[in-house]
Every structure is written in C-alpha cells, then in structure tokens.
C-alpha cells in the first residue's frame, strides 16, 4: 500500500468483489418472497351460446373461435379471441426488472406427443401493470403442422418468466385445460 496507484487498485478490486457479493445476496433474497399468481382465460362460444357458468371456474376462457380453416399447404389454422385475466403482482420483488408472460396452446397429435403454439405474449415492466384484463385475438398465428386440429382438446397455459435485475431468472406456469376446437372447419 505504498503508492497512490497501489491503494487505488486495491480499493477498486475489493469494491467490485463486494459488489458481486451484494448482487448474489440480493438474488438469493428472492427465494423468500411468497408468490401467488393467478390467471383466467375465457372461452365463450358465440355460436353455441354456452353459458359462461357451465365452463366457469376455469381460469382460462377463450372468448370466441373466429375462424378455423385449412391452409393451401394443408396445415390447419385457427383464429381465437382470448379474454385473459391475470394477477401476477405477487411475482414482483425489489430485484425484478420485468415479467415476460405468454399464453401457449398445448395439445397432442399422433406425430408429436406435445405441441406448443404461442398465441400471445407481453412484457410487463411495472408491478402496477401486472394485474390486467385483456381481450384480443391471438397475436401469433395458431397453425398446426398438419391437419390434426378438428375436434382437438387442448390446454391453454400461461407461462411467465420473472427476469431479475441481478441473478437467477424464475419461470413457472398455470395450466388451464378443457378447451376444444370445433369438429369442422368454419
């Protein structure tokens, strides 16, 4: 510690090492937060006029199936209107930068045991915006690899990734099952 540069170097190195420890502890403190997220997606068939109470109690509801067709190349495509209600506020801690949430349709075909098609996603940087209600048609096209979708039962899953300011990213999901596509194209 006999010269200016020597002391400055030692101080800076020690300061950065301690900073790394602070960030690690901040990330570790995320484990102690209680997380109780909830979500609902609504499916309401306008043609068959299913009462929402019949499929009530399910967190995800699809509002309407807009159209369901076979593409020129032979792949099925569906357009849905989703009514998404979610409360992800409990996921936010002091060490959260943003939450990335997306809704995926999951179903099984003879070719693949699991197909996942992402229908909608959003980046939520603020805790206040994490409790939301949105009604939109699917942001990304729901196209099957093949023509397996007629009469198909599928799950809608809301995934979220909690992205921290420093440290480990957590990801989890809510699976909502019981949705079914119509038996014929329209």
């Amino acid at each position: 510690m006999h010269s200016f540069g020597y002391r400055a170097n030692a101080l800076l190195t020690f300061a950065v090492t301690i900073l790394a420890f602070i960030c690690a502890i901040a990330s570790f403190s995320d484990n102690f937060s209680k997380q109780t997220p909830s979500a609902q997606i609504q499916l309401f068939r306008s043609l068959i006029l299913l009462d929402s109470d019949v499929c009530g109690g399910k967190p995800v509801k699809i509002l309407n199936i807009n159209w369901f067709q076979k593409q020129p190349h032979g792949n099925d495509e569906v357009s849905l209107t989703l009514n998404i209600t979610a409360d992800l506020q409990s996921l936010y801690t002091w060490n959260t930068k943003q939450v990335f949430a997306f809704v995926a349709a999951e179903y099984e075909t003879s070719k693949n045991s699991l197909n996942q098609v992402s229908l909608w996603d959003a980046i939520i940087p603020e805790k206040e915006h994490a409790k939301f209600w949105i009604q939109i048609s699917n942001k990304y096209r729901f196209i099957d690899q093949g023509h397996n979708l007629r009469g198909k039962d599928f799950n809608l899953t809301l995934h979220w990734h909690v992205m921290p300011k420093t440290g480990k990213m957590f990801a989890d999901k809510i699976v909502m099952s019981g949705y079914r596509l119509p038996d014929a194209y329209r």
Partner: protein, 91 residues
C-alpha cells in the same frame, strides 16, 4: 506513508467498504429499492477512496528515520572489487 500508516490505510479501506455494503443492502432491502442500494454503495466507495487513497498526514505519524545526507557523507559506501578475470565467450 509510513509502515503503520499503510497498515491503517488497508484496514480502514476494508472495514469502510464492508460497512458501506452492509448499510446499502439493509437500506435497499427494507425500502425495496435496488436503486437506493446501488447509490448508497457507490457513495460509500467514493467516501472510502477519499479517506484511504490520498496520502493524508495522519498516515505518517510514525515517520521512518532516513539517514541525514550530511551524516551519510562521513560513512562512504564500501567499493566493490571487480574481478580481473574475463569469462571466456562462447561461440
């Protein structure tokens, strides 16, 4: 700085940085503000560097006793005897 001063500077630096880190983390965690934590820690680093890096007088309280120049002339350095043998050069 003298030897005692150097030791003091190093200890001060380590202790001050640790205290700054602990205070920053506790305040940041309780106020749930990452930004506050970073600002307090940065302030602590700057404060520590102001205290320990420059050559303050209180680091020089036990100054080393260097030999006085006039005293040094009375005791000339002994001359080193150079050997007259030359080493054979290798080719």
């Amino acid at each position: 700085m003298d030897w005692q001063g150097q030791k003091l500077a190093e200890q001060l630096m380590q202790i001050l940085l640790l205290i700054a880190a602990v205070v920053a983390f506790v305040v940041g965690y309780t106020t749930a503000s990452f930004r506050t934590m970073m600002l307090i820690y940065a302030g602590g680093v700057v404060l520590t560097s102001l205290i320990t890096v420059p050559n303050w007088p209180f680091f020089n309280r036990h100054p080393l006793k260097w030999l006085d120049p006039s005293e040094a002339e009375k005791h000339p350095k002994p001359q080193v005897v150079v050997s007259s043998k030359k080493k054979p050069s290798k080719k």
